[in-house]
Amino acid sequence: LVFTEEDKYGLYSNLLFKYFLAEGVVCGHDLFVASAKEHPDNILKELPAPLLDDFSRKELGDEAAAVKSEDFQDSMKIAWRYQNLPKIEASPTTYTKFGHYYDVSKKMSPELCQSVKLHSFYLHEELSFEPKMKAWNMNSGYARLLQSIQRIISQEGFDGSDPQKKQRNVLRIGIQSLGSILWGDDVCCSDPPEDPQSLTKFLYVLRGLLRKSLSACIITVPAHLIQNKAIMERVTNLSDMVVGLESFIGSERETNPLYKDYHGLVHVHQIPRLNSLICDVSDTKDLAFRLKRKQLTIERLHLPPDLSDTVSRASKQDLAGSAKLLSSGCGAMAIGKKHLDF
């Protein structure tokens, strides 16, 4: 369960969200998109196009084969990428590529989009209230979303309930702007909110669903609007991975010469610790991101040398450690390259 705290204007977290979905399309996973803000079809039309040159096209085929031939267990893990890793290392042909690169300036072609099964949930188009949910004691928008997810999981067999289905696939769930007022939850507007436990209960049940099936989920939340910090602490406990994006737009950091190269900072608050006593800790925790014309890059925060009128600076260092960290949620790693590109 990847929990992303949105930046103030939602620009970059949206981009991250789209990368997650685009990666799903390219890997052949099914997608489930839920939103109360934008119609999911619109979101899906704007996924970035993958950069498929000859080299990566071959890798795409190999990687897809590797995913399908694996033997998943029934009670599945959320950070399914971690399970992918040992398999990829064992077979040398699929070792080199882990994730794909995308070109933000181009949109993904509709044919590629249609090649996977898409499920969507747009809150304002859903039918209203089913009677059984009254017992749940939860915000009705969240309850409906959970019902919808559970229905898809059991119908499409992601939880292993259909023994005849030989090829098991992964479901990528993306939920946009959870907790905003559009979902009917006032956790972002008032302190104390009327029903502080709806969001946490929702996350708990979602976690149960994810653990029980072959799915991975990314959620974006406008955390800067939530005044009640206690809820953020509880939410952090309930998620596997928590990443916060802080953009420099409109803040005094925009003009700060230290941050002149970057568009924002990435705060990794928590990384998953699944099936093991330890977690994969990287060397550094200071990461920043930058949106170039074609790519979103996340790199180690590198302060420029303090020279008065220089333009050039020393090259940035390798990011193998932090790359693996971020790749568990967003699916891209640059091995042997200097920057982490999506």
């Binding site: 669903l209 653990r211 602490e233 699944l274």
Partner: protein, 247 residues
């Protein structure tokens, strides 16, 4: 026997202590009731196997009673209507009532005469989640009190509970529960992230507080501090400042 141990973590993840106690008590031959609210069974199983214990085998021979919170809540919310005589232990999701959970604990640990296990143990991971799921802090404290009365006093067993806390936390309900539990514990194991920040070789420090003042009026609590580093199969402890990386 009859001890209440509190596992507490601040700024770091103290779940390695839970894994330790689980495998420790299973190897000692105790009957364990494990209420796992936050992770799935396979997660604990994989780690326990690295530590040398098989949870599946323990479950089969009746030594381990495992309540998988995530799975039970799905059964409760998405499953069929249940029989009236058997309330689900996670009923508090809809009714904010922890009595069913206590009933489950009591039933699983006070089993019949055929048992040959040594003292019963209740292990809870973790208590802070109960607050997120709709239970009031006073209800949580009452629940722990009932568990203690049943397991520690009546059955002469042990209780081990994990909670999260933060020094400048704004979660007052959680802090209330944690502080109250601290006062009532016989032993507190407090895992903290290093105050100086993140370090690769020392993952944190652990404070072991033996609350002798609880049982005897004139005694003082005994506090020991160690630093630790978590590895794949075990955790190494050393005195502060004597990490292998430094020496």
């Amino acid at each position: 026997q009859g001890k209440f141990t509190l596992l507490r973590d601040t700024r770091t993840d103290g779940s390695f202590l839970v894994h330790h106690f689980l495998s420790f008590y299973l190897r000692a031959g105790c009957k364990v009731c494990f209420v796992a609210l936050l992770q799935s069974f396979s997660h604990y199983n994989v780690v326990a196997q690295k530590l040398g214990v098989s949870l599946a085998a323990a479950k089969e021979r009746g030594q381990l009673v495992f309540l998988e919170g995530l799975k039970s809540c799905l059964d409760l919310l998405f499953g069929e209507e249940e029989q009236p005589g058997q309330p689900s232990p996670l009923q508090f999701l809809s009714t904010s009532d922890l009595r069913a959970l206590f009933g489950f604990v009591r039933e699983s640990l006070s089993a019949g005469g055929g048992d040959c296990w040594k003292g019963p143990v209740l292990l809870l991971d973790d208590l802070s989640v109960l607050l997120s799921l709709g239970a009031a802090p006073v209800a949580v404290l009452d629940f722990i009190h009932y568990c203690r009365a049943c397991v520690c006093c009546q059955l002469q067993g042990n209780v081990v509970v994990l909670v999260h806390s933060n020094e400048d936390s704004e979660d007052e309900e959680n802090e209330l529960v944690v502080n109250s539990l601290c006062h009532h514990s016989d032993l507190i194991l407090w895992a903290e992230g290093l105050a100086t920040g993140f370090c690769k070789d020392v993952h944190g420090q652990i404070k072991i507080i033996k609350r002798l003042s609880l049982r005897q009026a004139a005694e003082q609590d005994l506090v020991q501090i160690y630093q630790y580093k978590i590895q794949d199969r075990n955790v190494t402890f050393f005195a502060p400042g004597l990490s292998a990386a430094v020496l």
